[in-house]
Symmetry: C2
Subunit: 364 residues, 2 copies
């Protein structure tokens, strides 16, 4: 339909259409989210082309509706960097936003690092940020537990150390097996009998029950971890997931398993859906951010590179959305997107720098 035209007219139509859709669908987003979750085994994968923007696609022109927001929520991977490489111009674009008095909040589904860790990664990419400027699906999960389930004291964690660090920062004692833990049927049969547990279990003082099972992306995901998590869920633990991203892109262009396959596996194994999924595109996360940072819905704009997380996140939360093409989403995917698809972004730009450059000058 609209292909990849950065012409004003095309953007207008889209921006207006998109806005209407958001209004219409805002009331229904829980069911939309459910539909997306149900479809997650078929989520279109994303093979990005960060170099494409640099090749000089037609520069985006500002849509008449493009207003300077008071707050920009920024996805990280695919917008600010791509694996270990910075996206050119992004650090300066963040500086420019701040120079204009626009608040920048960094939002990621990745739980590899804690907020502290991401502050360091941002710094390595030329962006100064405090941990308080950063929201990971792990920090949001910890906040969610703290505010909604303050009685939770122990957690069994499938996830990277960043998730453990966030949970510990709100006073939750975390248990996590390492990669070397092997499972056998005899062990599983005896999970509830502490006297028959493995030496490793005894050494880590693994309890017979955990109040919470928290699951995020984990390079050491294993049958052992899935079995322990399943056991604790069956014993009544709250079951929270950081996100349902189906895949992550490797530097070679192949897709790596994301968090979605792990959460889906645990749901299948327990016969129970996660009690809540915290990260993008969950509306839970946007409500948390708007409340925590004191931002009005109309003042916020989400900038990201993925339709199924970033743009859907904005739509689910009823805020504006900008898709940049420095990450996952290809021109081809955009061209093939059904006009009625809720994941149509309000605006499309080759990069964050192009978006910031296109923002109307502030009345100084």
């Amino acid at each position: 339909m609209f292909g990849f035209q950065y012409a004003i007219g095309a953007l207008d139509v889209r921006a207006t259409g998109g806005g209407t859709c958001v209004q219409k669908r805002a009331a229904h987003y829980p069911s939309v989210f459910v539909a997306v979750r149900r479809r997650r085994h078929r989520v279109t994968c994303c093979v990005g082309a960060p170099e494409r923007a640099a090749e000089g696609v037609v520069a985006a022109a500002a849509s008449p509706e493009l207003k300077a927001p008071r707050c920009v929520l920024l996805d990280q991977d695919g917008v600010l960097w791509h694996g270990e490489s910075s996206v050119e111009g992004s650090a300066d674009a963040v500086k420019e936003l701040r120079a204009r008095g626009i608040r920048t909040i960094f939002v990621t589904n990745n739980v590899r690092f804690s907020r502290r860790g991401y502050a360091q990664k941002l710094k390595r990419n030329g962006i100064d940020a405090r941990p308080d400027d950063i929201v990971t699906s792990g920090s949001a999960l910890a906040s969610y537990v703290k505010s909604k389930h303050s009685d939770i004291k122990t957690a069994y964690v499938i996830g990277e150390p960043g998730l453990v660090e966030e949970l510990e920062s709100v006073g939750i004692r975390c248990f996590r097996h390492d990669a070397s833990t092997e499972m056998d049927e005899a062990l599983f049969a005896n999970l509830s009998d502490m006297s028959k547990r493995t030496d490793e279990d005894k050494q880590m003082q693994l309890p017979e029950r955990c109040d919470l099972v928290a699951i995020g992306w984990d390079l050491q995901f294993s049958m052992a971890k899935m079995s322990y998590a399943s056991f604790f869920v069956q014993k009544g633990a709250l079951f929270l997931a950081t996100n349902l991203d189906a895949q992550d892109k490797s530097a070679s262009g192949y897709l790596m398993p994301g968090t979605g396959p792990m959460v889906g596996a645990l749901e299948c194994a327990t016969g129970r859906a996660a009690d809540a999924v915290i990260g993008k595109p969950s509306a839970l996360l946007i409500e948390t951010i708007l409340t925590e940072f004191g931002v009005e819905r109309a003042d916020a704009m989400m900038v990201g590179d993925r339709l199924d997380t970033d743009i859907l996140f904005a739509k689910n939360g009823g805020i504006g959305s900008v898709l940049v093409l420095t990450g996952c989403t290809t021109e081809q995917e955009l061209a093939e997107l059904d006009p009625s698809d809720i994941r149509r972004p309000d605006h499309v730009f080759p990069s964050l720098a192009h978006y910031v450059a296109a923002l109307p000058s502030p009345a100084r």
Copy 2:
């Protein structure tokens, strides 16, 4: 509705109704199967009570429609044994079937062992059987590859040694990582570059491509295995799964992750559905068995303990079905089963021994 009455009348109604359902739905089973697959994350789990049959539930009476079949397909776990304990009377029941000239074929979704391994396990449980009397989802997968994809020479296997043994028996070279294989992003990015592969990969001469990815239940399922399998699927390998069982029951009554969580995870990670799922309840398997053993549909009866695999398998394949209560399915689940549910068994008995005892005497 029918609760747990073994009275003739109740069984009549059910048998007739069930028969009609099968006829009506036979033409539609592919879509039913798809529906079941879609629902697999919600498949009702099975917490069995093998001791219940021994407690003396009302003895089953033969339904007038209960005829002696020429061939009985027997599920193993939950019918012949339960973990490491034999189900009382089952070995004698198998002998009685054979004494009456009824062919017995042992059918399992488990790939822990090969057919040779199951022959040994049957022997330990008092049943003499040749490997040729046994069909595992692994042996069926190997037969399927041999008959439909004879050009396949190499396979990356997620699964227990039984699956590898079956594939090797039809001349396929198998590659399988062990539990200690760890994954990192750098390794994944370099999977296509043999010079950067791990020492383990080089030692096992892991190729750059595999013709087939075969996935079955695997106690050592891991992110590493999922990543390698995902990589080979993305490079174009045929993607076959042994089965989609959501869970297995441990001796302590807790549910262990079955094969379904692993297959679903790989489907999510690759963004692609398995090209075929071979084991119960797939109609593929029943067609293979009927052809291979030269059995007419009307002459076969499936005996099993699970609605979602055994009984649905019989229904999908258009053969008769007997549910026994020595395994997964509880009286409660049967009572709650919707009358229109395709998984309603034609007959219900406390055990295999009860079924065999209820068969009409042969005209000698």
